[in-house]
């Protein structure tokens, strides 16, 4: 079963545990500046929204790469950057419609979410369930269950 990161902004409190977990997993240091998932704080509405790569099947970054440094991991479904092949040309950062692949000055390469090899640290660290790692075919299951509950378990209007 392929799994994907699923984000529910309504549950996000803006604690940035996900950003620290990401940087700690990948760099061994707590550095939100190096995180591949970012939480956006829209303070006029109070909304906090985590955002990261959704691992497109037909990935713009993969197709744009001139040296084939980006490949799909057949086990996890993640598009992964091979650092030894990447030349830091940044074409993928232009090609990606979502902005979720970015250049890293310190390494001269690009980085993106690779699902931590199948156990994403961000989802593990999220204290509220705003970020979960779930069945790719059933990302709607939670919402369906809520509406099914409404349909079947609430007193009818009549």
């Amino acid at each position: 079963m392929q799994k994907v990161l699923h984000i529910n902004p309504d549950k996000c409190t803006g604690c940035l545990q996900c950003e620290m977990a990401c940087s700690f997993e990948n760099y061994g240091t707590f550095a939100t500046a190096k995180s591949r998932i970012k939480v956006f704080d829209f303070h006029h509405t109070g909304k906090k929204v985590p955002y990261t790569c959704t691992q497109c099947d037909e990935a713009w970054c993969l197709h744009a790469c001139p040296v084939e440094a980006i490949t799909m991991n057949r086990t996890t479904g993640a598009m992964e950057v091979n650092e030894s092949t990447c030349v830091g040309c940044k074409v993928c950062t232009i090609a990606c419609p979502f902005g979720t692949i970015n250049y890293v000055e310190e390494t001269g390469k690009v980085q993106k979410c690779d699902l931590c090899g199948g156990e994403p640290a961000c989802a593990d660290a999220c204290p509220t369930g705003a970020i979960t790692f779930i069945d790719a075919n059933w990302t709607g299951l939670g919402k369906m269950a809520q509406w099914a509950d409404k349909l079947g378990n609430q007193p009818s209007a009549a």
Binding site: F24, F30, A31, A33, P127
Partner: protein, 615 residues
């Protein structure tokens, strides 16, 4: 070992900026944040210094757990000598600024001297510059943050700054970061303003590494997070209701100071409670509360984000206050509300927004307004002097006086001096509800005996966060004690004060202690910094910090007689409710407290105590 090992020293008089190594012997003995920052202050500043002179210093300090995944590990402390109290000032804030500064590679930031003109400090990892702030002077905290993010072309910059109140010398001006998190008390923002320092803008990309034992640390962090999640207060009560969950609780036990401590229960408490914030308003059918919000790394998320009623009289023509913003938290809701007899939730949030926007402490402000209203009702102050009819319960007066105070206009200038100076000026010093010149927070020291002792002995003056015995006396954490009973409270207060000093110095939030004890801190400190941080060692360090602060105050001229409470709490019994007839039994408790502390009858640590603590 989780410290960065580097301190930034900025001389505002000369403009010299210097990086220096953190004194690791002191870091070992005082941990960080409150403890380590205060150690630097007491070593470098004469305790008799005039707080608003160039000779005072002001320090921003992070702890070893700031900027890590330890839950709530985002805090920093601002340390200086207070212009409000003349005692040590030590105000702690959450939000994101502290972690960002630590991630830039610094443990602490020390400002010396006074800048000849308004400046702000820009820190981008190792790039540190004092920059002209002429264009920011006269701007609010909110405008300053927005302007800096824009001019630096970096939305990820974090800003710690003062508003107009800090520039204008309001004696309880705060330092505000991330729009609505504040190092709120004792006038740390006033000292910042006196140095012509407007803001510190920080971008940190290095991160916090150098964890002593990463595996043990993460194991301890995860176990401690689980404790928070499974605890009723930190896992359910605080995220759902925030600190405001206390409003009805404290009112029901008869300990909600009302109308300048004339009463101990407020008939309007339910109107300004957490429950009211979560109930649709009659006026527009919308809820006041929008959502909760966490500070950096916090898995509790007690912060409140609210939206006001757009048609409320305070903001009818002020669209800038219509968006979601911080508040109300319990202490502010009490100080702006019950302390003045005001039960208009929207008016309280308006006053609270102004406190954040221009940087003042709502506790000292609200309590001072309470004293003004009492003086007005006594006929000592008139409508002409104040500029409005200042009866208890008047939301109009509260809104008006908030504006006058933050903008430094009219009678607001007098309110900006705090209740001690104001009540003394008008011949009624007993009506200042304060200790050491700092106003009390939201618990009646007659109805809760231990908190009265904690107020009287707090090293920064009237304060609940130096020894939150409410946890034990009202909530039963870690064990229930009788709030009306004074026996046993000296030892309880000491234990809370010492443990709090250790937590405050680590970079974590004191609210974790609703669920955690020192062993939970010890396991995380040991993983991050080394196995020497045992529970016993942390308690001892906490006690060492407490005595260090005490000795600074003693050198500043404080004596045993300053460990006091206003006459009202000692001689005017509570009129109604569960605590009816009670006064605070301070005279009974104080000798036992001094004995428990190992202090002489003048409140000075004995030679034996100092030797035991390595002072």
């Amino acid at each position: 070992m989780s410290w960065t090992g580097k301190i930034l020293r900025v001389n505002l008089t000369t403009g010299a900026i210097k990086a220096e190594p953190t004194n690791m012997d002191w870091a070992r003995a005082y941990i960080g944040s409150r403890g380590l920052g205060t150690k630097y202050l007491v070593e470098e500043v004469d305790a008799t210094v005039e707080p608003l002179s160039a000779d005072n210093k002001i320090i921003w300090a992070t702890g070893p757990l700031t900027g890590t995944m330890a839950s709530t590990g985002g805090r920093y402390t601002v340390i200086t000598k207070s212009p409000l109290t003349g005692a040590v000032a030590c105000s702690n804030s959450g939000g994101y600024w502290g972690a960002e500064f630590k991630m830039a590679g610094w443990d602490m930031l020390i400002f010396e001297g006074k800048s000849p003109k308004p400046v702000y400090l820009y820190v981008n990892d190792d790039q540190v510059e004092l920059r002209d702030a002429a264009h920011l002077w006269g701007k609010s905290v909110w405008e300053t943050e927005e302007s800096l993010k824009k001019s630096l072309q970096d939305p990820l910059t974090r800003v710690s700054s003062i508003g107009k109140a800090g520039e204008n010398g309001v004696l309880f001006a705060s330092v505000v970061n991330d729009l609505h998190r504040a190092a709120g008390r004792s006038g740390v923002g006033t000292v910042m303003g006196s140095k012509n320092l407007k803001a510190i803008a920080v971008r940190g990309t290095k991160g916090v590494g150098n964890i002593k034992n990463p595996k043990a640390f993460m194991k301890a962090v995860n176990a401690a997070k689980k404790v928070l999640a499974e605890n009723g207060v930190t896992g359910q009560g605080l995220p759902a209701y925030g600190t405001q969950v206390l409003m009805n609780v404290i009112n029901e036990v008869g300990a909600l100071p009302t109308r300048n401590h004339q009463d101990s229960q407020f008939e309007g408490a339910k109107d300004i409670s957490a429950e009211a914030m979560a109930t649709p308003r009659k006026s527009d059918g919308k809820k006041h509360l929008v959502t909760n919000q966490a500070c950096f790394a916090c898995t509790i998320a007690c912060g409140r984000i609210s939206k006001m009623d757009e048609n409320h009289f305070t903001i009818v023509n002020k669209p800038q206050y219509r968006g979601a913003s911080g508040g109300l938290e319990y202490e502010a809701a009490w100080a702006l509300g019950a302390a003045n007899g005001v039960n208009d939730l929207e008016a309280l949030q308006y006053a609270n927004l102004l406190c954040n926007e221009e940087g003042i402490d709502p506790i000292s402000f609200g309590t001072t307004v309470g004293a003004v209203m009492e003086l007005y009702e006594m006929g000592v102050l008139t409508k002409e002097q104040i500029g409005i009819e200042a009866k208890f319960g008047s939301a109009q007066a509260l809104a008006f006086l908030t504006e006058e105070t933050i903008y430094g206009r009219g009678f607001g200038k007098e309110i900006g001096q705090g209740s001690k100076r104001l009540t003394a000026k008008y011949g009624h010093p007993d009506l200042s509800m304060s200790s050491k010149g700092q106003e009390f927070p939201a618990y009646d020291g007659r109805a809760i005996q231990g908190i009265g002792l904690a107020y009287a002995t707090s090293n920064r003056g009237g304060c609940h966060l130096r020894g939150y015995t409410i946890a034990s006396e009202v909530l039963g954490i870690p064990v229930k004690t009788d709030p009306l009973e004074h026996e046993g409270k000296p030892d309880l207060v000491k234990a809370f004060q010492d443990a709090t000093a250790a937590f405050d110095s680590s970079g974590l939030c004191i609210f974790t202690t609703f669920a955690w004890g020192l062993p939970d801190l010890a396991s995380q400190m040991a993983g991050a910094c080394g196995d020497e941080y045992t529970t016993e060692e942390l308690a001892k360090i906490g006690e060492r910090i407490w005595n260090m602060e005490r000795e600074f105050n003693n050198r500043a001229g404080f004596t045993a007689k300053d460990d006091s409470l206003p006459k009202r709490l000692l001689t005017e019994p509570v009129k109604t409710g569960p605590s009816k007839g009670k006064v605070n039994m301070l005279a009974e408790m104080m000798p036992k407290y001094y004995a428990a502390r190992g202090w002489d009858s003048e409140g000075r640590p004995t030679a034996a105590t100092k030797a035991r603590l390595g002072l």
